[in-house]
């Protein structure tokens, strides 16, 4: 609790005591002089609402007529004139209590938001001239070495030179399982070093590092306002003058028309003034969005603006790239099919050796599969290697010719390989004219890809589409496995844009199209979609720049989560708008008819604001 708020609460409590004493006294002494009673209540009033009166008077000087303080003052002073001393003080008391609650709630939500953004590193231990010095992260230059002890936050992006450890990436990815790093691995600022001491060579200065980019993004997210926020701003601009205008009319017209009864109508008009602040909405709507953005951030979903959070709830089409989004984008050996009399080991060994000089992902995956079986490549065994473009390779291993490649290569050797129906890339292997078998290498489907597709279906997406530049057979296979209803394959990058354009033209007016890609070579499509989502943002600047929403992990199911958060947030926003406006209009009507006291009016003002704020804070969870 802030000092200012504490002081305010103490003063209001003191005033409340004076108020109750005055009430008690006027009951115990029935014939009390009216002036004494007025003085007592005035004293209570000034203790409780002195600051409101002071602000109001100062604001008149600035020409701020529709200021909340001013309106409260008019309403309560008016009540004094009408002769309702106790009520005038009570209304001010109630208003102040409500304001304190409101400040408390706002402070609390400010704190939780600050906690969400608490990934900024305070300092870096830089090694200069053999000594470590603690400096601000901004002062460290690229190429310098920093030391990160267990428990410290990694201040800058870099590469591990010495040591191994596990990192807590929770604040960035929402992932609770620590990530292991060792010499040669890249580390990302904002993560917390858990176990070992790391010596890291800095690869980016602070302004360019991941943590600075994320903080910048989060801090600016709230300045891209949603339609709901624009609506509230507009509403607030007209609401107060209209209600104040109505109050004036209410005070003047009925008594003139019907004659007399000034007191009654002025009292009702004063109630109007109390309800004329739109605070409940002005605070709670942006707070809901902020909470939603923060809640998403906690699960490793960065949303670049309230407008995108709002748009996610209206999504009706989701278009996904295959490679890197639904599949891992890394190749691995899926199946070994040796010919008769050949061992799996032997087949893999020959293929791995033959391909050992190539850096192609397919070759790498062969070597990796061989290494994971505990074998190493002994380069001395390999003689000359010849790459046969469009066919494969021919390598001399232990003096024998090994051929590894597609079926065309096999036929060239006079062999008739099996017709393989498998999905993926097939590598046939032959040795000196003898067929050894084939290996299937395929991109792996992500473990949560099916969950994501099912989630989209459950979220009521009208269209779920998968795009890929890959072969039709592979694409159809992946789509069938995941249950994606619509597939477009063998597309060039330009085709993807055209296709997304066509889909956008086909959607309903209010509906939105989400495009999900890995952010590496689909920037034009990300930009064209209503909401561009990039996967695997951690460490990829391109993804962070190009997209509207960045998923920090590799999990496509997080997009479903983002839609859920969006729907929940929008639900809270709608509840607050309907509730606040509803209660205000209802109390205005009742007050005009003389059926609501000024008490009800205060509730419609601060009471509603507090309830709306408490409701808005749910969006954070």
């Amino acid at each position: 609790m802030s000092k200012k708020l504490k002081k305010r609460i103490r003063r209001v409590a003191m005033g409340a005591a004076v108020y109750f004493a005055a009430v008690l006294l006027s009951h115990l002494v029935p014939g009390m002089n009216g002036y004494i009673s007025l003085v007592l209540f005035l004293a209570a009033y000034l203790v409780i609402g002195g600051d409101v009166v002071k602000n109001a008077v100062m604001n008149i000087g600035h020409g701020q007529v529709f200021d909340e303080n001013f309106l409260m003052m008019i309403a309560t002073v008016g009540a004094f004139f009408v002769g309702d001393y106790p009520e005038a003080v009570a209304v001010m008391l109630f208003y102040q209590v409500g304001e304190c609650f409101q400040s408390f709630a706002v402070n609390k939500s400010r704190k939780s938001i600050a906690a969400l953004m608490d990934i900024r590193p305070d300092s870096a231990n830089v090694i200069r001239n053999g000594e470590t010095a603690e400096v601000a992260p901004e002062e460290v230059e690229i190429g310098e070495r920093i030391l990160i002890k267990p428990g410290e936050r990694i201040p800058l992006d870099g590469v591990v030179l010495k040591g191994s450890s596990s990192l807590d990436t929770m604040a960035l990815t929402g992932e609770s399982i620590p990530r292991d790093v060792e010499t040669g691995d890249g580390v990302i600022s904002g993560c917390v070093n858990l176990s070992g001491v790391l010596e890291v060579e800095v690869s980016k200065n602070f302004g360019e590092s991941t943590v600075a980019k994320i903080l910048d993004l989060v801090e600016n997210a709230s300045s891209k306002k949603s339609e709901a926020e624009h609506f509230i701003t507009k509403f607030a601009r007209y609401y107060t003058p209209i209600v104040v205008g109505c109050a004036v009319l209410l005070a003047v017209i009925p008594p003139l028309a019907a004659g007399g009864g000034w007191q009654v109508w002025i009292y009702r008009a004063l109630s109007f003034l109390v309800i004329s602040c739109p605070c409940a909405l002005v605070i709670s709507i942006p707070l809901s969005f902020f909470g939603g953005l923060g809640g998403a951030g906690k699960s490793g979903i960065l949303i670049k603006g309230s407008n995108y959070l709002e748009a996610l709830a209206d999504a009706e089409m989701v278009v996904m790239d295959k490679t890197g989004t639904l599949t891992k984008g890394t190749f691995s050996v899926n199946k070994l099919v040796p010919a008769e009399g050949i061992k799996e080991e032997e087949l893999l060994e020959k293929a791995a050796y033959a391909e050992s000089y190539s850096n192609h992902p397919i070759s790498r995956s062969l070597e990796e599969a061989y290494l994971t079986r505990g074998k190493g490549i002994d380069a001395a065994r390999v003689g000359s290697v010849e790459e046969l473009a469009g066919h494969g390779v021919c390598a001399v291993l232990d003096g024998k010719n090994i051929y590894a490649g597609n079926d065309k290569l096999m036929r060239k050797q006079g062999l008739e390989p099996e017709n393989v129906e498998e999905i993926g890339t097939v590598v046939h292997v032959a040795e000196d004219g003898a067929y050894l078998g084939y290996i299937v290498i395929a991109d792996e489907v992500k473990t949560d890809a099916k969950e994501a597709v099912d989630g989209f279906k459950a979220a009521g997406m009208k269209k779920i589409v998968m795009l890929t530049g890959d072969r039709k057979r592979t694409a159809d296979y992946v789509a069938a496995k995941l249950g994606v209803p619509e597939v477009y394959s063998e597309l060039l990058p330009g085709d993807k844009v055209d296709l997304v354009e066509r889909l956008i033209a086909a959607k309903s007016e209010k509906g939105k199209l989400i495009f999900v890609g890995d952010g590496i070579n689909d920037a034009p499509v990300l930009a064209r979609a209503d909401i561009g989502v990039a996967m695997g943002g951690l460490g990829s600047d391109a993804a962070i720049e190009a997209a509207d929403v960045v998923i920090m992990t590799d999990e496509p199911s997080k997009i479903v989560r983002a839609i859920q958060i969006s729907k929940k947030t929008l639900g809270i926003v709608k509840q607050n708008i309907v509730f606040a406006i509803g209660v205000k209009v209802l109390v205005l009507l009742l007050a005009a008819l003389g059926m609501a006291s000024m008490w009800a009016a205060v509730f419609a003002d601060v009471g509603v604001a507090v309830i709306a704020i408490l409701n808005a804070m749910r969006a954070m969870r």
Partner: protein, 73 residues
């Protein structure tokens, strides 16, 4: 150029909106955003006016919220 200010002790959300609108109307300011929750004011201002704008912003803020302290970041 872009300037960021912290509005310390900004308590009134309604005033935040009014400050945003009033700062937006200052000569040389092309955009103005107040975020009530982070107590931040971000303005885009023409380079030529950048030096004087802080003073003018302080004046505007004082008018709406005398208690708020404007700190340039």
């Amino acid at each position: 150029m872009r300037k960021t200010y912290i509005l310390e002790d900004l308590d009134c959300a309604h005033c935040a909106g009014e400050i945003e609108a009033a700062v937006g109307k200052l000569a040389g300011v092309t955009s103005s955003t107040v975020t009530f929750l982070t107590q931040k004011l971000v303005v885009e201002v023409e380079d030529a006016k950048a030096d004087k704008i802080t003073k003018e912003i302080k004046k505007v803020v004082k008018k709406f919220e005398p208690d708020v302290e404007v700190v340039e970041k």
